[in-house]
């Protein structure tokens, strides 16, 4: 193991990942031993156990792998309902969950989407933990 010295600027920590995302850079961990993509990056590969994880930019384009329309939302997001959430398979092989800026009726498995980043809304800031308040929110837009 060689993870000593991790700090909040390292993209293998959440603050490091979200700082880069705020600048529009989607960073993934890529296992140097087996190639598994890890989103967000982290010190260890779940597929093979290796701690030799590189950080590499990931394509923001992908395709819908599965999706749902949420009618009964958590209290913090009740005003947004119904909204669409999808698991997206990105072009570089990783998978990431996020909101989709489209009605579920207009979404299908396999649809092309692109990840974009926005500032959190006032309502989202309201329920954020102190260390999360500056983190951007990623969403997928149909393309």
């Amino acid at each position: 193991m060689t993870d000593g010295g991790l700090d909040a600027t390292d993209p293998r920590t959440l603050p490091g990942f979200f700082d880069a995302l705020a600048d529009g850079d989607l960073l993934g961990g890529v296992c140097a031993d087996c190639g598994q993509v890890l989103l967000p990056p982290r010190p260890a590969c779940y597929a093979c156990g290796s701690h030799d994880v590189d950080v590499e930019p990931q394509s923001r384009e992908g395709r819908v792998f599965s999706y749902t329309e949420i009618h009964a939302a958590p209290p913090a997001f009740a005003a947004d309902a119904p909204y669409t959430v999808a698991v997206v398979e990105l072009a570089d092989g990783g998978r990431l969950l996020g909101r989709v800026t489209a009605d579920a009726a207009d979404v299908a498995i396999g649809d092309p989407v692109e990840l974009t980043v926005r500032e959190p809304t006032a309502a989202e800031r309201e329920v954020a933990l102190e260390y999360e308040t500056g983190w951007p929110v990623h969403v997928f837009e149909p393309r």
């Binding site: 698991v87 969950l97 983190w135």
Partner: protein, 389 residues
């Protein structure tokens, strides 16, 4: 190595109750110890399955429930693994007895889900999902399973009507279970026309919010005999964690559940085809389909046929009967107690105490209890009255 047995079981009423969590536990304990010496005369350790402190602003359930059972100065702890907490508590008891550490361990579980209404339960359950990506995207328990369901419907011949039939079957089973939260039959139309929760899942695809507690006394065979109790061997126990985020898993091959089940089978010296009944984690209808495949009862892509009579299922299916209690869907799903309610059902089925819902000739049961979405953590147990192979 002593082989642990279940020597007694008990449960509180399930559903919306006026009792706080510790009092629900007292009711469950009283049933489990009816006709037995006091817990203080037998029990050497306590494990409590409990999901969330947000329902009653209470942790320290090990200490609290041990005290309410009349036990002090025993090791006692709360076990957390969202909805798998109950089976994790049972697994700890199994290991303690196997290891020879204790002759009698109380595995129990409790959840007071109704204390903060449906929105409070939705919020408490969302804590089981990855905070950084999933929670901040607004996911819920139903939406996480809806992602699995959408993908399952895409990859297999299953339809929303097939998933509805699973709910219909489990309600029919619950109608014969006096412990069930919803002991009433429903039809497919009721499921298909119920309110959308997270498409393609509708209200009647989802297990209900409810209160409840359960207690399972795990002992050595010798102590169970001394207590003059019917005993059921806990012949196998397996557990497996998987990724926290659903996106990073294979969403239709529930690998953790397969490992948990196969580990339990291997310890018990049996195969999937030897299982007569299974209580699987049907928190949502699609779960029963996915878990039937993971447990080795059904070929890939055919688990949704669990509602059909064995002769009507695809080639390669076993004759297992799933969720004879009515399952989480209709028996009820008080989160931390659920894994123990599964054990209770198996005990009653295998000791001739299941009344009208008894599955004739059942000797061996598989229990599969999940926490987080799908196999974030899964615990499997084989319990049986058959002779050891």
């Amino acid at each position: 190595m002593p082989e642990p047995v279940i020597a007694s079981v008990g449960a509180s009423p399930l559903g919306r109750t006026d009792l706080p969590g510790r009092d629900l536990f007292s009711v469950a304990l009283a049933e489990a110890f009816d006709g037995l010496p006091d817990p203080a005369d037998i029990v050497e350790a306590v494990y409590v399955g409990n999901q969330s402190e947000s329902y009653e602003h209470q942790i320290m359930h090990g200490t609290l429930l041990a005290e309410w059972a009349g036990l002090r100065h025993v090791p006692a702890e709360r076990v957390e693994g969202c909805a798998a907490a109950g089976a994790l508590a049972l697994r700890h008891a199994v290991k303690d007895v196997r290891n020879g550490d204790h002759e009698a361990v109380l595995a129990c579980g409790v959840e007071k889900m109704s204390s903060a209404g449906t929105s409070g339960a939705t919020d408490a359950l969302s804590a089981a999902f990855d905070r950084a990506i999933e929670q901040r995207s607004g996911v819920t328990a139903p939406s996480q399973y809806a992602l699995l369901a959408r993908r399952y419907l895409h990859e297999t011949d299953a339809t929303e009507a097939d998933l509805a039939e699973i709910a219909v079957k489990n309600h029919a089973n619950a109608a014969r279970n006096p412990r069930a939260q919803f002991p009433k039959e429903i039809d497919v139309t009721t499921v298909l026309e119920s309110d959308p929760v997270a498409s393609p899942l509708k209200l009647y695809d989802c297990a209900p919010v409810g209160d409840g507690a359960a207690a399972v006394l795990v002992t050595t065979p010798e102590l169970a005999a001394d207590l003059d109790r019917p005993q059921v061997r806990i012949a196998g126990s397996g557990a497996s964690a998987n990724n926290i985020a659903v996106a990073e898993r294979d969403m239709t091959t529930i690998a953790g559940a397969r490992i948990a089940a196969e580990t339990a089978y291997e310890e018990a010296g049996i195969g999937a085809e030897d299982v007569d009944i299974a209580e699987v984690h049907d928190a949502f209808t699609v779960c029963e389909a996915l878990l039937a495949e993971a447990a080795g009862f059904a070929p890939a892509g055919t688990g949704y046929q669990s509602y059909r009579a064995p002769a009507e299922r695809a080639d390669g299916w076993t004759n297992v009967q799933l969720s004879p209690s009515g399952g989480l869907k209709a028996r009820g799903h008080p989160i931390g107690a659920t894994g123990l309610l599964q054990a209770l059902e198996a005990y009653e089925q295998l000791t001739g105490a299941a009344g009208d819902r008894a599955v004739e000739g059942a000797e061996t049961a598989l229990l599969l209890n999940e926490g987080g979405v799908a196999d974030a953590v899964t615990v499997g147990h084989v319990v049986t009255t058959a002779e050891a192979p």
